[in-house]
């Protein structure tokens, strides 16, 4: 199994979720994160004091999928999340050794 981590623009979340579901992914977990990269953060000035906010709001999606489904999932994210502008984000793929569904105790691919 693979853990696919995707960091994307927040307003793309729903599109990406739909694309993943379309690609057969049945579950995923999302967190609000702040990203640092080529896309620069903004500067805010309050009463003359300048604060550089180096981070840009992003969302991180994590989905564990069967090895065979990983390629399709990555493609789906890539297609749905792209705007062509800087800051579109990244996808990382990691190996997962085991998965367990807490409710049923199933493990392995059956747990996804």
């Amino acid at each position: 199994m693979k853990l696919i981590i995707a960091i994307v623009k927040p307003f793309k979340l729903d599109d990406v979720r739909e694309a993943l579901v379309g690609a057969g992914v049945e579950g995923l977990t999302v967190s609000e994160v702040k990203g640092y990269g080529r896309q620069k953060g903004q500067t805010e000035i309050y009463r003359g004091a300048e604060y550089q906010v180096n981070f840009v709001p992003k969302v991180k999606l994590e989905a564990v999928v069967d090895d065979s489904a990983a390629g399709k999932a990555v493609e789906a994210i890539k297609a749905a999340a792209a705007t062509g502008k800087i800051g579109d984000g990244k996808i990382f793929v990691l190996n997962v050794e085991d998965a367990v569904r807490i409710r049923t105790g199933e493990s392995g691919t059956a747990a996804l």
């Binding site: 000035i45 009463r47 906010v53």
Partner: protein
């Protein structure tokens, strides 16, 4: 500058007197008119507009001769001052608490609002015990009376259901006590903007009590309570000098003595929630109607013009700040609008019952620009850390307003404005600056070497919410 030096001396002398109870040096005895503070005199023409004649026309309940001379209580005047009291209390809690609370970092917001709240509680009791008496009762010693009231009304003894204060003849004394209490509350609460995010809570309390008794009370007495500044003709309708310059200067001294917040200039110290600040600024604005129009201590045209001037100046200053910011920072912000409005409110305070609306417009524009100058340029220049710009906004705009009162006072609005002079106003400003800075410094030293001033570095990093109060925001 010789004069200003003299005045600083005078300030020091004042400090000495209050601390030690020494007699006032003759040098200060600048033939003070017998205690007639602005508001008192206003009451007279105001009373004419009210159904006072009825009293004369009513021979039946024949009062004693002396009573006949005394204007009767007026339910309308009383109603407006009762209302104003509620409005001014609302300025501090929740107004100022939120104005400041929104500007600090999230980890300090509970501590910041707790400061306003605790100061409200503490000063209420202090005022009842001694503050009112020291500010607004006559001191038996004529020399001392120029600088401080007596203790005859301590614990409000002497106040009865029939008594009135001579400054407000048409309302019960209890109402005057309460109204003035709300001024005594907000003044030290304003200073908190300067020491925000780093002062120990215990230090805040001790500092506040001492400052109220030794700085606020004498200043209020000197200007309004029959002391030498009012006597010299210094005009301060609602507290530009007594409240704002006083608090602003004290704030500057606090900022200098405490030093900068840890991480100042490198950490992100952006206001964490400008919606809270907007609520605070709005309640300050609305409450200021009580502050300024209530200072007419009557429900009449003077109150009306004071309210109108307040509105015009606040609005003009918000616009002025917004435009300068738009030009300098490229985008006009909510914090700028709020800061500008407050600067305008500060600036019009001494002038509210002396100028006409056109004058208020000018004061507002200059007050807003001055506040911007104080909070943005001056602070950047001098590198002190006046966290929330108590001095930048209240000090600078207060000074501008106090001086412009001398220039723009319109006798058609208030006959007392006839004697207005820039020099007299400057004199009042200089004495207040001198006295407030020296006195505040001394008090800070006392606090420093007793309970201590500043929270530990660890406590500051953790945030005052948890370190001082054991509480946190959970959302």
């Amino acid at each position: 500058m010789k004069k200003s030096g003299l005045q600083k001396l005078a300030g020091l002398a004042l400090a000495a007197m209050i601390a030690g109870g020494a007699f006032a040096p003759a040098a200060l005895a600048q033939d003070a008119a017998p205690a007639a503070a602005p508001a008192a005199i206003e009451a007279a023409p105001a009373a004419e507009a009210t159904p006072a004649p009825a009293v004369e026309a009513a021979p039946a309940p024949a009062p004693a001769a002396e009573e006949a001379a005394k204007p009767a209580l007026d339910t309308g005047d009383t109603s407006w001052v009762l209302t104003s009291t509620a409005l001014v209390l609302m300025m501090t809690i929740p107004g100022l608490a939120l104005f400041y609370g929104g500007m600090v970092r999230r980890k300090n917001v509970i501590a910041t609002v707790a400061q306003s709240f605790a100061i409200t509680a503490v000063i209420s009791v202090v005022w009842m015990i001694a503050g009112y008496s020291l500010s607004f009762s006559a001191n038996g010693n004529e020399g001392l009376n120029k600088v401080i009231g007596g203790l005859g009304n301590a614990f409000l003894s002497g106040m009865t259901m029939d008594s009135t204060n001579s400054l407000a003849a048409t309302i019960p004394e209890s109402v005057f006590v309460m109204f003035q209490m709300t001024f005594a509350i907000i003044t030290p609460a304003l200073i908190a903007g300067a020491y925000a995010e780093r002062m120990k809570f215990s230090a805040v309390l001790v500092f506040t009590v001492l400052w109220s008794l030794f700085i606020y009370a004498p200043t209020a007495h000197a200007v309004w309570g029959g002391g030498f500044l009012g006597g010299a003709g210094v005009l301060d309708f609602a507290g530009g000098t007594v409240v704002h310059i006083n608090a602003g200067v004290a704030g500057l001294i606090c900022a200098l003595v405490l030093g900068r917040r840890k991480g100042y200039g490198s950490d992100n110290m952006a206001p964490h929630n400008l919606v809270l600040t907007m609520i605070g600024a709005s309640l300050l604005w609305v409450g200021w109607f009580g502050f300024n129009a209530g200072s007419a201590v009557g429900s009449n045209a003077l109150a009306g013009i004071a309210m109108l001037n307040t509105q015009v100046a606040a609005a003009a200053a918000a616009i002025a700040w917004m435009l300068i910011e738009w030009f300098e920072r490229k985008k006009p912000g909510m914090l700028g609008l709020a800061s500008g409005a407050v600067a305008g409110l500060v600036a019009i305070t001494p002038a509210a019952g002396f100028v006409n609306p056109q004058g208020a417009l000018i004061i507002g524009l200059l007050g807003g620009a001055g506040g911007y100058f104080g909070a943005v340029w001056l602070k950047r220049l001098l590198k002190y850390d006046d966290s929330l710009d108590a001095f930048g906004v209240h000090g600078i705009a207060g000074i501008i307003g106090a001086l412009l009162t001398g220039v723009l006072a319109d006798p058609a609005v208030n006959s007392l404005g006839e004697g207005a002079s820039l020099m007299t106003q400057l004199y009042g400003v200089a004495v207040t600056i001198g006295y407030a800075s020296v006195g505040t410094f001394i008090i800070l030293m006392i606090v420093k070497y007793t309970v201590g001033l500043r929270a530990s570095e660890e406590a500051e990093v953790e945030g005052l919410d948890l370190s001082q109060h054991g509480e946190a925001l959970h959302d």
